[in-house]
Amino acid sequence: MRYAFLVAWREYAENARTKGFWIGIFLLPMILFLSGYVPMLLERKGRPTRHFVLADQSGQFEKTIEGALEKRHQRRVLDALRDYAKKHAQPQDPAAARSTAGKRDALEELGEPGPDAVDRFIRRGGREFYLREIESRLKPGAPKFEEPKRQLQRVPVPADLRSGSDLSVLAQALKPYLRGEKKIDADGHPAGLFAAILIPADVERQIVRPGLPGPSTNSSPGGIEYWSSNLADDNLRDEVREAINAEVRRREYVTRGMDLALIAQVEGTRVPFANLNPKKEEGQEKVSGTDVLRQWAPVAFVYLLWIAIFSIMQMLLNNVIEEKSNRIIEVLLSSVTPGELMMGKLAGIAAVGLTMVGAWVLSLIGILAWKAGAQSEVAGQLYSVVRTSNLLPAFVIYFFFGYLMYAALILALGSVCNTLKEAQNYMGMITMIMTVPLLTMMFIPKDPNGTLATALSWVPLYTPFIMMNRAAADPPLFDLVGTMVLLIGTAVGALWMAGKIFRIGVLRAGQPPKLVELVRWLRRKE
């Protein structure tokens, strides 16, 4: 035992000293954190102001578009102001609340969600009003509120292009700007032109009215032209299109003599739709965001499990090959038995893997707990899912047995190959076999106890991943226990075979053995 421990300790110490180990430990939480945080950050700070030109020869939609974009901007101002208030303003103390009874608290009103929040915000007087209201309650040292930059900024058409009345000529003339070859003037600064919106004078005649004579839906496009070389960022296009279409419909209602107020009422009609789960307790069947997350969270754990097992398999393989190709193995075997060596390796590398996975899980929980506050609803829900469900214990168990099974394969493989290159060929096959649970990972939560999921669960190589995948769906006890027994049996069997192959393989030089030869090794008696 002492010798197995010494081997394990060296494996652990040497692997824990490598850069790869530490990069591995930090990379995953970092990626998780960044992938959640960066888009948010970019959304808020990084997105550049998009400059566009608008040429409305019909003169009908200029106001509509500007109004829509202004509202969009005010929504962002509102969001920013909410964040600002949450961070820097103190909630009203109860005494003050009583004294001002009847009057609504501005801060409360600001935080109130709902579809008409923006309209109310604008009606009330926008940021000036609210800033004045909360001024007295700002914590000492609070910074000044910074209004977010306008994301979509209209700029005038360059002066030298204004003369022409033909839109196709204008479009041609704008092309160098749109392609980035020329800069446009935006408030005295040169800026790239993001898009051009060209509305023809006869746009009225091009409106498609189903059921009425006029241009049919499949005639030539015509209509409003949106020019941009950026196909990915479609915010402006969608905003403008929605605004114009809403306006066109509004006018249509009016021309056809319909009551706008009535229509608004009709459009607001809805029936409540409850999402219920029969598996939940009586009276609490209502499905919350947490429940949805609970069903999908296993996917994250499957992925984590996969990465963990895969990366320590690589570690183990490198390690065995190094000892074998350097013939260090001979010195080792003059000091320890093959059994002790194998056990030491398994334990040492398992400890490396556990350290890594432990660090991941801890940092995941850490990030979630940190973000779980008022700031992120999703993080809070995830946090509670991880804390309250059986996912973590399941993860640890499946990691342990899955690791043993795959490690046995790797020990056997490593012991019969002489170089890493040779081993990589076989490793490729193992990797290919291993990708199946990654491919099915996203489908299984949709039908967690279906045929595919059940069948794959009974393939020992996939059991840890698929059962982890199904963990939130209460798989039948028969599946749960049966696959576990099969998995443990397979792991033990694989280790036994690996032991036999290992003790012969490690001392062998030359070509990897043929399958027949391997079988002979397995049947050899000591």
Binding site: L6, I328, E330
Partner: protein, 320 residues
């Protein structure tokens, strides 16, 4: 166990790899406190024998006892081993490799560490103690590996080809290491192809070929296994000498240069029985009236012994 017990004893050891007989009924025993040379052509079964001694592989039949025990692993702390193919953990520091192997041999961690630095200093590698082993030259790496094999001060050291790949200076260091150990009453068994090393270092020789033991004994005994050679130079007829019972064969040596011709002296090489005394040949020459211009007796070298005993096998292509 007394000190007169053999440190290693093999009885009728045979090893098959599949159908291939790598070691064929080998028996020998090594007395304590000597330097033993383990010789044999490529593929003779040296490495297999060593692996069996160390219990890395098991013999197909026969018994091995090391330090009086049936299992080398029972006494692993008292045995040191340097394998034929040399290699170290590339990323480990020189001292920690030595210390690691020493702990596997039973030393405590602090003792192993102390010992590693001590050895590195003694053999001139002090400055490289903290270097990863892949930063060392091949010779240095090999020295580190030898030090790792002997760090726990074993009673019995087995070195498989310790000299291969070393430059002459490092070969000398290697010899020094081996002599140091012998001076402290340790038993050393080393295999080599270089007969000069064996000749300089060994007290005893063990020679195997094609898996069979050919020879086992002291250096002098080894030399006695092949006919001694005497060279004489004379212009007279040497027929009387041919008839001597001690003389096994007579052959004329070529290349006497300008003196060739009638009446010119010729050089002859006589092979004489191992037991015969070259002096008796000299006396016989006087007695028969053969006038000698020169008489030269030479001890056979280990090289001669090797070539004589295993020459034909050694020439065969290595079969493993």
């Amino acid at each position: 166990m007394t000190t007169s017990d053999p440190i290693l004893e093999l009885r009728n050891v045979t090893k098959f790899y599949g159908d291939f007989k790598a070691v064929d009924d080998v028996s020998f025993s090594l007395p304590r406190g000597c330097i033993h040379g383990f010789l044999g052509p490529n593929g003779a079964g040296k490495t297999t024998t060593i692996r069996m001694i160390l219990e890395i592989i098991k013999p197909t039949s026969g018994t091995i006892s090391v330090l009086g025990r049936a299992s080398a692993l029972e006494v692993r702390g008292r045995i040191g081993y340097l394998p034929e193919e040399k290699g170290l953990y590339k990323k480990m520091k020189a001292w920690s490799v030595i210390a690691y192997f020493a702990t596997l041999k039973g030393l405590s961690r602090p003792a192993a560490r102390r010992r590693a630095f001590e050895l590195l200093e003694r053999y001139g590698l002090k400055d490289f103690a903290e270097k990863p082993t892949d930063a060392l030259s091949k010779g240095m790496g090999q020295k580190v590996q030898v030090l790792a094999a002997i760090a726990h001060d074993p009673e019995f050291v087995i070195l498989d080809e310790p000299f291969s790949g070393l430059d002459p200076v490092n070969q000398q260091v290697m010899e020094e290491i081996i002599r140091d150990m012998a001076a402290r009453q340790r038993t050393v068994l080393f295999s080599t192809h270089v007969m000069q090393h064996a000749e300089r270092l060994c007290d005893r020789i063990l020679l195997i070929a094609k898996g069979r033991k050919i020879l086992d004994g002291t250096l002098a005994e080894a030399r006695r296994t092949i006919p001694r050679r005497v060279q004489i130079e004379t212009a007279d007829d040497i027929a009387p000498i041919r008839e001597l019972s001690e003389v096994l064969s007579v052959s004329r040596l070529e290349g006497n240069g300008a003196a060739e011709g009638e009446g010119a002296p010729s050089r002859w090489e006589l092979k004489i029985r191992e037991s015969a005394d070259p002096q008796s040949i000299l006396q016989a020459c006087f007695a028969k009236g053969i006038r000698l211009r020169s008489f030269n007796q030479s001890e056979p070298t280990l090289h001669d012994v090797f070539v004589h005993l295993v020459g034909p096998e050694a020439k065969e292509a290595s079969f493993r």
